[in-house]
């Protein structure tokens, strides 16, 4: 699957999905005008990709500073896809990073991790 890079814009995060290296990263802020239009294609590709790498290692990094509720919903959908992949044998690691004094993003990391049973989840303070 072809790598996908989308530079960060004022309201949308950097997307650095290196499918070839099994390394996917989202960085920055997410409150796009239309969250479904932004995240929909990423979620679709992620689903297809996860089916193609069964049994392999996958590292996903979320380095987010802010996201609105529509984006939170999309992130939860991605996390559910990752959990599904991990359940069927892919070794998925999800690294959730937050700034030292950012208790809101730390708590979101904890929230999202409650959905994870098979994914190896790391909460990392930077």
């Amino acid at each position: 699957m072809e790598n996908r890079f989308i530079p960060a814009l004022e309201r949308s995060p950097e997307v650095d999905f290196r499918y070839g290296e099994n390394h996917l990263a989202l960085r920055g802020e997410a409150y796009p005008e239309d969250a479904a239009a932004f995240f929909g294609p990423l979620l679709k590709d992620l689903t297809t990709y996860c089916q193609s790498i069964q049994g392999q290692d996958l590292l996903v990094e979320f380095q987010l500073e802010y996201f609105n509720t529509s984006s939170a919903k999309a992130l939860m959908n991605m996390i559910q896809v990752l959990e599904g992949a991990a359940r069927s044998g892919t070794r998925v690691a999800l690294r959730w990073t937050f700034q030292k004094d950012d208790d809101v993003m730390r708590e979101f990391g904890e929230d999202f991790s409650t959905e994870l049973e098979h994914v190896h989840f790391q909460l990392v303070q930077i």
Binding site: R11, Y31, E33, Y66, N68, T69, A72, D102, V104, D111
Partner: protein, 183 residues
Amino acid sequence: MLASDHYRMTMENKQRGIIFSFNGFISEGILFALGKALKKKMAADEINAGTMKRVFSVFVEQAQNIIRYSADTLAREDQEDCRLSSGLITVGTEAGRFFVACGNVMLRSQAQPLQARLEKIRGLDSAGIKAYYLERIKETVESDSLGASLGLIEIARRASEPIRYDFLDIDGLTTFYCMKVFI
């Protein structure tokens, strides 16, 4: 007269701790520009990152609620992108706390379900609000009311006390809805 009227208005807002108050047609572009100004102002005042994030989040969710749910709109049916919704949004400080308040006209028929959602959220403590947020975000079904609920729950999570709200009926069809949230 012109200057004195406007100066009085400016000073009144200042005395009430208002950082900005926007009244009129609000678009996603205006939301973005106001949000950027708000962040700059809070950064200049050296507000801590957690508070900044909470104020900003409540501001974004309230502004998007106006954009999506205000009944006072200018729209052409063939141009959904040009839809402009009207409302009021105010950010300020009162007794050392930030507040974000908003108001817009809505249909009276939609007020009752909204009030039920607000009351449900107001009845929860912070652990209950967090659990309710997680319950709603994990649901796979997408619907209008779900989007609205999640926004309200997010606002309640960032608030330091229960959401205050009020309705004022305008006529048989519409009501003016407002909400004030202290961070």
